[in-house]
Symmetry: C2
Subunit: 262 residues, 2 copies
């Protein structure tokens, strides 16, 4: 597939018109992509507080005004009801429907949360010359539910989910410092080495994604994962919630480098 | 004054007993100190969102559970009603009382916000060998209300307040990178050089604090200031709000270095 070098706004317009309906990986390379979670105002305080208390798995990029469909800070003019290629509707924590336009479901009391995504820090790792096995082999990362509890907030609580990438030991220091510069995209690893420290017993059997292959001298490195906020929100069975479908992210106007703190 | 090397917990106990009643500068050196803002739950969502949208002036360290007096993440066992040396009570945005124990005013619907403070990044600057005129001369920094509007959230809106420190041009790069490592303590400067860019017309007349003296080659460097959240909250005239008195901060258990992202 040729790299799509158009600007995020043009790509979002094609998504809105239904021309693009697939996963967003590789679209608008260099632009920040985001996870979406939409909840009624009634549950928005608890979820906002949950994100504030757990910034590694839940790095907030944007929270819309109540009822607004426009993420003014990260993509002015965008419409969160139509500008993602695929959405999921959850009712009482159960998947009710999957669709490409949530306009019929929008309500005046909804608040949209956009959260940083691993695409940004993987870009930073690749840019720094760090090899990522799953990208070289066209696989997904490996993800686990850990024994580390997030700090609860109101109705929301649950374990942190992590993603794991094998990193060559000679590239370990660089992988840590490079990702630490991006706290809005999960930041530095939360754990390096022995998976038992996170309650993970078998590295060959991830809870989600694909098992990874380790080269000689590779070390397992664990980053907080954006699956956490959705998993935690759904576990509390909110009456109504909208999310993106896995891999079908929201493309913002922000360049990845804009998220670097240093 | 001799440096007080006791642990934060012991110092907070003396504050609670009323033995220490003065400003907290110089107490528990190396520990993070925090600004306090307490609001009813009714206004907590808007204030939390305001902080999320304006992280440079309003870096959140901790938000308590509704009604709780204990900041469990940054100072387990502490009591926010008694462990600061001096508080201010505001009613409808007006100062109503200044006192050393707010137990009589505590309510089940209150939420306490602790926000990062410039002491942390000044420690980082000094530690990196950067000279700060106001500290060498026992003065306060200079602060201004700027023409930069914070991003509003619900009832809260207003201009960003900045502090300014003259920095030697040969130390400028280091001053920027050193403070960038501490996003939870205002992070990197928001502006360097010509004050007109912030709508400041006269560097010799700050809105708060003391005028600074510039050496040859010194450049004015502006950081977002923790005065912003209180000024913004009070401008919206909330019926009830508790804050620390200026300089009388909350001393957390966190070492300053713990806030460094890199």
């Amino acid at each position: 597939m040729a790299i799509d070098t158009r600007r995020p706004k043009e790509i979002r317009a094609e998504i809105r018109r239904g021309v693009l309906r697939g996963v967003t990986a590789g679209l608008a390379p260099g632009s920040v992509q985001a996870n979406l979670a939409v909840l009624p105002r009634e549950h928005a305080y608890d979820f906002l507080l949950f994100c504030q208390r757990n910034p590694r798995p839940c790095p907030l990029l944007e929270v819309t005004d109540v009822g607004s469909v426009e993420p003014t800070a990260v993509a002015p003019g965008a419409d969160l009801r139509t500008d993602l290629p695929r959405y999921r509707i959850y009712k009482d924590g159960e998947l009710a429907e999957e669709l490409s336009d949530v306009t019929p479901y929008w309500r005046d009391d909804l608040v949209a949360f956009l959260l940083g995504c691993s695409f940004t820090f993987e870009w930073a790792l690749l840019d720094a010359g760090i090899r990522l096995w799953h990208i070289e082999h066209g696989k997904n990362v490996a993800m686990w539910r850990t024994s580390v509890e997030c700090r609860p907030a109101g109705r929301f609580h649950g374990p942190m989910v992590v993603s794991m990438r094998p990193i060559a030991s000679e590239q370990l220091a660089k992988a840590i410092t490079v990702t630490a510069r991006f706290p809005s995209a999960h930041g530095a690893p939360i754990h390096i080495g022995d998976p038992a420290g996170l309650g993970i017993t078998d590295l060959s059997r991830p809870d989600w994604g694909d098992p990874q292959t380790f080269g000689v001298g590779d070390v397992p490195v664990f980053w907080a994962c954006g699956v956490t906020p959705q998993a935690v929100a759904l576990a509390s069975k909110p009456p109504f919630m909208i999310t993106h479908s896995p891999g079908h992210m929201f493309i913002t106007d922000l360049p990845n480098a804009a998220l670097s703190v240093l």
